[in-house]
């Protein structure tokens, strides 16, 4: 598929460029903050991958390559906003303040969630592709009914755009003018399938069929993603309805640690995207245009290493759930089959019967 121009404020080489509609509202320190976010998320993700290789996690879905898309979007959110991720939104979890250890619980197989979605205003991962888009629209309809000035953002991939639920979400979002931002990370691949298997034309066009704005942003440019998302969220909160953002980016690693991307994509493509690395891009910019000292970057690296080390300790010491805990939240109210099950299982695993 032909690449179409996307909103860009920073070239792959790290040069600031101007855009007719979007200015950069951040100062150097703030941009450095975004760099730090991205560097830490990348480092944590790297640690998680190696924990998986060492048998400490059952699975991991690496985010490498998509850090700008996620940190740009995540930092554009207001604390009062709410977000609905899929399974790869580690960068968003970071921005929502969720401790990295919690991101890994699902992948270790000790939890179906991992954190308190109410506290962090960030839903637990949705695995069934597309489901969360409708749930997010519903949440946004709730905001409207509460008369609150909040917005919802939901995350999904290029592959997800083929699912009926995503289309229905666009429809409901539009008809109810819901305060929602549909944030699509087009990372070029849905497991082994290139975006051309989901669409003939750039995906942000989908919005045109529903009458709300669709926009493509350079998903490897954290400044552009930040500004585009911020405006979309502001619009949503102000009652202007949904926006579809296509963050054009790349999944640099495997789909998950179970995947073998060499079966379906060529090295040259991965190489091409390395030159567009989102973390390096903003670093180059900060060094070149703001003369930031190497020390600051080293400090971030050290901080990230430290966090990774902590994460490792936490994961290694993470206990398995009590078998009987499977009965704790299946229902909110008492249920006879749950009680029978609890009694039955207690005979095998011990515990109150």
């Amino acid at each position: 598929m032909k690449e179409v121009p996307a909103v860009q404020l920073l070239t792959p080489e790290g040069l600031r460029v101007e855009h007719d509609e979007y200015a950069c509202s951040l100062n150097a320190e703030e941009i450095f903050g975004l760099y730090r976010d991205m560097a830490i998320v990348r480092r944590i993700c790297h640690e998680a991958t190696s924990l998986q290789r060492q048998g400490q996690l059952a699975l991991w879905a690496p985010v490498q390559g998509q850090e700008a898309a996620q940190i740009g979007a995540g930092r554009a959110m207001a604390p009062k906003d709410f977000s609905f991720p899929s399974y790869r939104e580690h960068g968003i979890a970071w921005c929502r303040g969720i401790p990295p250890t919690d991101w890994l619980r699902l992948f270790r197989g000790v939890s179906m969630g991992g954190w308190d979605p109410v506290q962090y205003r960030h839903s637990v991962p949705t695995i069934v592709i597309g489901n969360q888009v409708l749930n997010a629209v519903g949440y946004a309809m709730g905001i409207q009914r509460d008369g609150a000035e909040e917005a919802v953002m939901t995350f999904f991939g290029d592959g997800a755009t083929s699912q009926g639920d995503v289309a229905e979400g666009f429809g409901f979002g539009a008809v109810f003018n819901a305060p929602i931002v549909f944030f699509m990370q087009n990372n070029q691949w849905a497991i082994s399938e290139p975006t051309s298997r989901q669409t003939l034309i750039p995906l942000y066009h989908r919005a045109e069929g529903y009458g709300f704005p669709g926009i493509r942003v350079d998903g490897n440019d954290v400044l552009a993603v930040y500004e585009v998302t911020k405006r979309a969220l502001d619009n949503a909160r102000a009652g202007a309805g949904p926006t579809l953002i296509e963050a054009f980016t790349y999944r640099m690693g495997a789909h998950t640690t179970s995947d073998d991307p060499t079966r379906y994509r060529v090295d040259a493509e991965v190489e091409l995207w390395k030159h567009r690395d989102p973390v390096e891009r903003v670093k180059s910019y900060l060094i070149r245009e703001h003369q930031m000292s190497p020390k600051k970057f080293e400090e971030v690296a050290a901080e990230a290493d430290q966090m990774a080390a902590e994460l490792r300790v936490n994961v290694l010491s993470m206990p398995d759930p009590e078998p009987l805990s499977i009965f704790d939240h299946a229902y909110a109210e008492p249920h006879p089959l749950v009680e029978e099950g609890r009694r039955d299982l207690a005979d095998f695993v011990g515990g109150a019967s």
């Binding site: 609905f84 939890s111 179906m112 969630g113 308190d116 979605p117 109410v118 839903s123 637990v124 949705t126 069934v128 489901n131 888009v133 409708l134 749930n135 997010a136 629209v137 519903g138 949440y139 946004a140 309809m141 709730g142 905001i143 409207q144 009914r145 509460d146 009926g164 639920d165 229905e168 979400g169 429809g171 409901f172 008809v175 704790d328 939240h329 299946a330 229902y331 909110a332 109210e333 249920h335 006879p336 089959l337």
Partner: protein, 326 residues
């Protein structure tokens, strides 16, 4: 006591629920101005406004999926599926989100939702308008499934379903919508989770729910004229089943016949037979029998009364359980 149709009783029950819970709201196709194709929501939009009685775009996955988000926001969504056969587009949202969200979030989010489904046959409808999908939901951990059989139960059970913090699949026997009955608006009687012994008897326990309850009561009358005493139990809650009540009855009668319109394989009826047989094994004087829809798609309406569980087919099963061990 007021005499009213089940349709009216549901309407009144919904009205009371909307009054009681400011965060209860309804979403469904044509439930606003039209009042739903069965008029169950008649007048509700006028009284509670368009923000609470929401005419949904024509998408069942959509209307249940947004219901999930609304529930996460603290609302109590009451979703209306227009006909049984149209719940399947929402199946994924129901099984993957509605049923599991509470467990997945360790209780952070209650799915205090009701999904109303007019179900079952006998209204002379075309295809997809006479399905009995309750077994799919009964099989799904995380859901509850109930079905009222008369106006009084409809009035109270819909209110209990809305008040419940778990998701409730509320199966309305559409062929009984227009039947009248007394509603006691001051006293609910049994809890929604209890089965009701509607008629006492000593020879055979006849268990059913929803649309077949009226048929079962009629069968009991006919059987009585033949000198057979049938105990008729209305399950009311289809999942979980109130097995204590059913088992106690079978311990008394020694015989069980379970009736339902859905095909038997992997059904609620089969499950009732399996569990009751396990628990009342030594009380059973004959194998428990099922009278269900056949294992074929729902028939064309002109012959539905001939082939679905009817008086003849149920009486025959009663005869058969009586013949055993003779």
């Amino acid at each position: 006591m007021t005499s009213m149709t089940m349709a009216k009783a549901l309407n009144e029950g919904l009205r009371r629920s909307l009054d009681r819970f400011p965060k209860a709201l309804m979403i469904g196709e044509d439930i606003g101005k039209l009042g739903g194709v069965f008029r169950i929501t008649d007048g509700l939009q006028k009284d509670f406004g368009e923000d609470r009685i929401i005419d949904s775009p024509l998408a069942e996955s959509g209307l249940v999926g947004v219901g999930v988000g609304l529930a996460m926001r603290g609302f109590r969504p009451i979703c209306e599926i227009q006909f049984d056969g149209f719940v399947y587009p929402a199946f994924d949202q129901i099984v993957s989100q509605v049923a599991k969200q509470h467990a997945r979030t360790s209780g952070a989010y209650k799915m205090a939702m009701v999904i109303r489904i007019p179900f079952g046959g006998h209204i002379g409808a075309i295809e997809h308008h006479s399905e009995s999908p309750e077994s799919y939901f009964a099989h799904t951990a995380g859901l509850r499934v109930v079905s009222p059989s008369n106006p009084h139960d409809a009035y109270w059970m819909i209110q209990e379903a809305v008040a419940c913090d778990d998701p409730v699949i509320f199966c309305e026997p559409k062929c009984r919508y227009w039947d009248k009955g007394d509603v006691d608006e001051t006293n609910s009687g049994l809890s929604i989770w209890s089965a009701a012994v509607l008629r006492e008897g000593s020879d055979v326990t006849l268990v059913t729910y929803g649309p077949s309850v009226k048929t079962a009561l009629h069968v009991a009358e006919v059987a009585a004229t033949e000198g057979r005493s049938l105990e008729v139990i209305d399950l009311r809650s289809v999942a979980p089943v109130d097995f204590a009540t059913v088992v106690a009855s079978v311990e008394k009668t020694g015989r069980l016949v379970v009736v339902s319109e859905a095909p038997s394989t992997a059904s609620v009826a089969a499950s009732v037979v399996a569990t009751v047989t396990e628990r009342a094994f030594y009380s059973l004087r004959a194998p428990a029998l099922q009278v269900t829809g056949y294992h074929v798609p729902y028939p064309p309406s002109r012959i539905e009364s001939h082939v679905m569980p009817n008086t003849d087919r149920i009486l025959d099963a009663v005869d058969r359980v009586m013949e055993f061990e003779s």
